[in-house]
C-alpha cells in the first residue's frame, strides 16, 4: 500500500468545483510535483493534505491512517510556504525549534536538533539572527529546516521558490532535492514552473481545471503527453494541422505531403493536430528523420549557444532549435528551407 493516498478527493467552494475526483498514491520517500497554471486546484489539494481545507468528499490516508478528519496540528506534516512565514518575533534557532517546543521536548534535544537542521541547510552560524536580517533565500531555507525539524511524515512545499530571484531559485531547488533524498522524506511540491517540476521530481501530476490530467515521470510527461493541455503546458510545442486519410491505419496528409503514422487515430474527424517538440525537428535532411517538409524561414533568434528558428510550413509555424556553429552563419529570414522529422516523434493528442 502506498504511503500517502488521496482517494476521490473533491472540493467545491460554493457552486465551483475546484478539485474533481483527484486520485494519487505516493510511495514513501517519493518526490511528487503538482504542476499547473494558477487556479488549477493544485494548491487546494496540497492544503487539503495539510488540513487547511476540508475535502467536500474523498479520503486522505498517510501510512494507512485516515487523516481526513484530523486538524492540521494533529497531522504531523511539515509545510513550507511561498511567503516563508517565519515567526518575526523569534530568532532563526527559535523558529527551527518551534515545532519541537510544542512537542514538549527537552531543551538539550531541541538544541541538538536545531544545530543539526541548521547545518543541513548550510546556515549553522545564523541561529541568533532574526528573520528580517536574512535574505529571501536564507529565510526559505530556515523555513525548510523549521518544517523538517519535528520529523514530519510528509513534507509539503507550496511554491517555495516563487518569491526568489532566478539564480537562488535554481540553487535552492537543487538543495531541496538533495536534502529530500538525504532524509528520504515523502514530499509534495506545488509549482507552476514546468522547468522546476521537470528537474526536481520523481513524478509529476499535471493539473488542469481541478483534474489530474496526467501523472508520470518527468520523462513520460515531457515525451509522451497524453492530453493537449499537458503537451502545451509542459515545454514548447509545435502544432501541425493534418488531414486524415485513413484513421484505422494512421494515414494523414500535412500540407499535401502524405504521412504514415502507423497507429490508429482517435476520434472520427477528418482533420487533427499533430504535435512535435522543437528538438525532434532538424533543419535540412537528416538520417533517420525521413519525413521531409518544405517551408520558408520566418524568424531567426540568436540566443548564444542555441539558435531558435521558426519555419512556416503550409501555414503552420514550426519552431526548432539548432546549436550555434561559429563557421556557419544562421539561415536568412525569407529563404526556403526543408525540415526533417521522424514519424514516430509526431504526437497525436486527445482533446
Amino acid at each position: 500500500m502506498a504511503f500517502l493516498e488521496l482517494e476521490h478527493l473533491e472540493k467545491s467552494f460554493g457552486a465551483t468545483r475546484v478539485v474533481k475526483d483527484f486520485q494519487l498514491s505516493v510511495e514513501k520517500g517519493e518526490f511528487v510535483s503538482f504542476l499547473g497554471p494558477s487556479g488549477c486546484g493544485k494548491t487546494t489539494v496540497l492544503r487539503m493534505v495539510a488540513g487547511f481545507e476540508t475535502p467536500t468528499s474523498g479520503a486522505i490516508r498517510i501510512d494507512g491512517q485516515e487523516v481526513t478528519g484530523l486538524r492540521p496540528n494533529q497531522r504531523n506534516i511539515g509545510m513550507v510556504f511561498q511567503a516563508y512565514a517565519l515567526f518575526p518575533n523569534l530568532t532563526v534557532a527559535q523558529n527551527v525549534g518551534f515545532g519541537l517546543r510544542i512537542k514538549g521536548q527537552s531543551r538539550n534535544d531541541i538544541d541538538r536538533r536545531v544545530t543539526e537542521m541548521l547545518t543541513l541547510i548550510g546556515l549553522p552560524e545564523l541561529g541568533d539572527r532574526y528573520p528580517f536580517q536574512l535574505s529571501g533565500g536564507q529565510q526559505q531555507r530556515v523555513a525548510l529546516a523549521r518544517a523538517l525539524a519535528p520529523r514530519p511524515r510528509v513534507l509539503l512545499l507550496d511554491e517555495p521558490l516563487s518569491a526568489l530571484d532566478a539564480k537562488i531559485r535554481v540553487s535552492l531547488r537543487d538543495e531541496i532535492r538533495s536534502i529530500q533524498r538525504e532524509l528520504g522524506i515523502t514530499t509534495i511540491f506545488v509549482t507552476h514552473d514546468q522547468e522546476e517540476a521537470l528537474s526536481i521530481s520523481d513524478r509529476i501530476v499535471v493539473m488542469h481545471q481541478g483534474v489530474a490530467d496526467q501523472v508520470g515521470t518527468p520523462f513520460e510527461i515531457y515525451n509522451r503527453p497524453t492530453t493537449r493541455f499537458v503537451a502545451q503546458f509542459v515545454g514548447t510545442l509545435n502544432l501541425l494541422d493534418a488531414t486524415v486519410l485513413n484513421a484505422a491505419t494512421g494515414q494523414v496528409s500535412v500540407g499535401g505531403t502524405p504521412v504514415a503514422l502507423n497507429r490508429a487515430l482517435p476520434g472520427g474527424g477528418t482533420s487533427l493536430s499533430l504535435a512535435l517538440r522543437p528538438e525532434v525537428v532538424s533543419l535540412g535532411r537528416h538520417e533517420g528523420r525521413n519525413l521531409i517538409l518544405s517551408g520558408r524561414i520566418a524568424e531567426v533568434h540568436f540566443l548564444g549557444s542555441v539558435i531558435r528558428v521558426k519555419v512556416d510550413v503550409a501555414g503552420n509555424m514550426i519552431s526548432l532549435d539548432t546549436f550555434n556553429r561559429p563557421d556557419l552563419p544562421p539561415p536568412a529570414v525569407g529563404s526556403a528551407a526543408e525540415i526533417s522529422v521522424s514519424e514516430r516523434d509526431l504526437l497525436v493528442l486527445a482533446e
Binding site: P88, I102, R146, A147, L156
Partner: protein, 262 residues
Amino acid sequence: MMGRRFWSWLAVFGSFLYFFLPLLGMFMFSLRMKRGELSFEAYRVVLTDPQFQTTFLYSMVLALITIVFGTLISVPTAYWVRLKLPKLRPVIEFITLLPLVIPPIVIVFGYIRLYNTSSVLPLTGSWLGTNLLVLFGYTILSLPYMYRAVDTGLRAIDVGTLTEAAQSLGAGWVTILARVILPNVLVSVLSGAFLTFAIVIGEYVFAALLNLNTFGPYMFWMGGNRAYEPSALAVIAFAITWACMGLIQLVSRFSKFSQVKR
C-alpha cells in the same frame, strides 16, 4: 514666502502659549504654598497624604487589570475577525467605537439600573461585584484604543500564513495566540495599554457613581477643599500621562524585531 513663514510661526507660537501658559501658571501656583518663597511643599503634602497613596494605588491596580482584560478580549477578537470573519470587520469596528459616542454616565447609569441590589444579578451589593462592574466599564472605555491598536498591529503581519505555519508545526489555538500572535502585536498592545492606563487613572464618572475611592474622586475632592494641592496633583497627573506617552515611544523604538517594515 517670508510673510507666510511669519504667520506659520505666529500660529505655532500662539498655540504654544495657549497650551503651556495655563500649565505654567498652574505649576507656578503649586510652588507657592509657603508664603514668600518657591517650594515643593504642596507636592510633599500630596505625596505623603495616605489618601493619595491608597487611591492612586487602587486606580493603578484597576488600570492594570483593565489592561489585562482588554488584551484578553481585543487580541483574540481582532485576530479571529482578521482570520475567519473579515466581512464582520466593519461591524466589530463600529461596536468598538461605540464607547466614544455613548457617554460614560449613560453606561454607568445602565449598570446601576441593571445590577442594583434588587436586580437578578446584584453586583452593586458587594465589594467584589462593584469592582467587577467598574472593571467592565473601564474595559469598555478603553476598547476603542485597545482594539484599534491591536488591529493595526495585526495588519503588519501575515496573520493567515503565520497561523497555518504554526498549525502545521503542531500548535493549537492557545499556543498560536500566546507565542505567535501576541508577541508580534505586543508593541501595539502596549501603546493601547498606556492609553488605557491614562484613561483609568483620571476616570471620575464610573468611580463616583459606583462610590469607589479611586484617584479621580480624590482629585475632585482635593479641588473642592484645598488651594495649592490640587495644582500639584494636576501637575503630577500630567507627568504620569506624559510618561506613558514617552513609554509608548520608547517601547516601539526599542523592540528588537520590529525594525522590519517601520
